[in-house]
């Protein structure tokens, strides 16, 4: 079996901290910390660095690795199905989107971990390319007045938001193979700066009141892109980077599980989702 190169592993470390922010994550942090989001994220990064030290030890325990993999699999499948259904295919029944994602998971489980890391490496390059484009086109649209403090400074809320950030950005690392040996804190820091820049774009362009009403503010900012009135409506292409990141976590989490157990879990998700689909939606959103 081919070895996973350092570059491939680092690509995955870079991609994994973000998918859990999709949907609820960003909303929660903005809702709690408002214009002090930057403080929450900086504190969150520090907490995250500390959590990674703990997770390095936890990642060796098989039971924890598998449990977290199952939780992340269910959570990411739910958020990804909701996002695709809301933003891309709003006429398509959610169950069809879910089935497609389940087939993708089964296919990626049929491949080895090396393949997942190689694919992640390619997705990383695409993701960076899309991000640079986003940054260059959206940066001039930032309105500095949106950063001025509009909400009062509540330390408790800022700390809760930073803990959210720390957990959401580090939890996926438990699912990584050889995390103890190959973890690179510099890549984690770089990935968190990327996330901080995304938050800065969201708040700078939309402002706290608008950003906190949208389910996917990270998608809405892409709708603002207009280059010479020619390049417009590119939100669906740019949002792909979030989907790629979710694919990576789904691929890695599914590879930690036994094929039979995985199949059982996926069938269970499908049955539960199809039976309780309306009720689940009402509870979460």
């Amino acid at each position: 079996m081919k070895r996973i190169t350092k570059h491939e592993y680092n690509s995955v470390i870079f991609l994994l901290p973000r998918p859990l922010f999709l949907g609820l994550g960003i909303y929660r942090i903005i809702h709690l910390s408002g214009s002090y989001f930057w403080l929450s994220i900086i504190l969150g990064i520090l907490f995250g660095l500390f959590l990674n030290i703990i997770f390095k030890k936890l990642a060796d325990i098989k039971l924890i690795k598998k449990s977290i993999s199952i939780i992340l699999l269910i959570y990411c499948l739910y958020t990804l199905t909701s996002a695709v259904s809301t933003l891309y295919l709003n006429i398509t029944p959610k169950i069809i989107i879910l089935i497609t994602l389940l087939l993708m998971i089964i296919y990626s489980r049929m491949k080895s971990k090396t393949t997942i890391f190689k694919v992640a490496n390619i997705l990383f390059i695409i993701s960076i390319g899309l991000f640079i484009f986003t940054l260059l086109t959206l940066f001039p649209l930032i309105d500095i007045t949106n950063f001025t403090s509009e909400n009062s400074f509540i330390l408790k809320n800022i700390l809760i938001a930073s803990l959210y950030f720390a957990f959401l950005s580090t939890l996926p690392y438990i699912t990584l193979p050889d995390f103890k040996e190959k973890y690179n804190h510099k890549i984690y820091l770089l990935s968190c700066i990327y996330t901080l820049l995304l938050f800065t774009l969201i708040i700078g362009i939309l402002g706290v009141p608008v950003a906190s009403i949208y389910k996917y503010p990270e998608y809405i900012i892409y709708k603002k892109i207009s280059i010479l009135n020619i390049i417009e409506n590119v939100q669906n292409i740019l949002f792909m980077s979030w989907i790629f990141e979710s694919f990576t976590i789904l691929g890695i989490a599914s590879n930690n599980l036994n094929k039979k157990i995985l199949l059982f879990i996926l069938i269970a998700i499908l049955i539960i989702y199809s039976l309780l689909i309306t009720r689940i939606n009402n509870i979460i959103f």
Partner: protein
């Protein structure tokens, strides 16, 4: 077995569910909403897919915006698509009574653009037909009107309107479309208080609003002896210190159309510059007093001062006029005697 699964995937899971061709979509460029007798009346400007400069109108009524749109498209064989929407026109009646419903409708649906302008217009059909008769697409025409920096229009897009609407430290401001001699003119704006229209701003006041908001538009000031001061750019800083709001605009520009002013006469230039400063300060002071009297805050003073009611606010205006000579001539062509 794998091949069977592959064939199954190829035939059943490739392509999009309920896929629609572009020719089956009707792209809306202009959208007008009026509210009369407890009913929404809507007008949609649909762009022709084949022709670049051709569009037509659809009209409908209903108790809700959705039902009005459904009524408008009853005999229409295409799906309405708002992703290219350029302008949303709201009547003053609809703005006063149903603004929350309208904003909710246009923000909730992902088929809506996020980059369109919003304005008040009470003669929506007349305005749209006027431009359509000139063989232009109304939405695009209005879009270019807003981009023109020569006129001091207030440019409000959905994100800015939402930001101010959801923020209790701001009040909304919206430009108004008037039709004068079959021409659309954006020479007024309305300010809101408690989500209701409270007063109107004229062209001069709109220019001052743009200066205080750092929206780079051209501003000019005419002095008594017909000397025109025209800005090339400006920047305003507003700070709150010792219970006083300091409003500090810096206007950079040149003198134009002067008949009896020598550019090399330094003391004369200084005198006229001071006059510009005085005139501008007095114009700005009147404007701020109007805002304060209405207790409406489209400039977000409450955000800076943390004061709940504007009438309690103390303010101080400190204007700086900077001259730059970007004109092509040294001396006045007019009479220098």
């Amino acid at each position: 077995m794998k091949k069977i699964i592959l064939v199954f995937i190829i035939f059943l899971l490739s392509g999009c569910f309920n896929y629609k061709e572009v020719s089956d979509l009707a792209f809306i460029s202009g959208f007008g909403i009026d509210y009369l007798n407890d009913n929404f009346h809507i007008i949609l400007e649909v762009q022709e897919n084949d022709e670049e400069t051709s569009s037509y109108l659809l009209e409908g009524s209903g108790r809700t915006i959705e039902s009005a749109i459904q009524n408008a498209s009853l005999s229409f064989n295409k799906n309405l698509y708002f992703i290219n929407l350029d302008i949303l026109l709201i009547s003053s009646e609809a703005a006063n009574k149903k603004l929350p419903n309208i904003l909710d409708y246009v923000t909730r649906d992902n088929n809506f653009s996020f980059n369109f302008n919003i304005a008040i217009c009470d003669n929506q059909k007349h305005a749209m037909e006027n431009i359509l008769n000139k063989k232009e697409i109304f939405g695009r025409y209005i879009n270019s009107l807003f981009k023109n920096t020569d006129t001091n229009v207030i440019n409000i897009k959905l994100d800015k309107l939402l930001n101010h609407y959801l923020n209790d430290k701001y009040d909304i401001i919206l430009p108004v479309f008037n039709i004068i001699e079959d021409n659309i003119i954006i020479n007024e704006a309305v300010i809101f208080k408690n989500k209701q229209i409270i007063d109107t701003l004229n062209e001069r006041e709109m220019a001052l609003y743009n200066i205080l908001n750092n929206n780079q538009k051209d501003y000019y000031l005419t002095l008594e002896n017909n000397i025109v001061f025209r800005t090339s750019h400006y920047y305003t800083t507003i700070i709150f210190k010792k219970n006083t709001l300091y409003i500090m605009p810096t206007l950079t520009g040149t003198f134009m159309e002067f008949e009896s002013l020598e550019l090399n006469n330094e003391s004369k230039i200084k005198e006229i510059t001071n006059k510009v400063n005085e005139e501008f300060n007095s114009e700005l002071d009147t404007f701020i007093k109007k805002i304060i009297q209405n207790n409406s805050d489209p400039l977000g003073f409450k955000r800076l001062t943390k004061i709940k009611d504007l009438p309690n606010i103390k303010y101080h205006i400190n204007t700086k006029i900077m001259l730059e000579n970007k004109s092509l001539i040294f001396k006045s062509v007019g009479d220098n005697s």
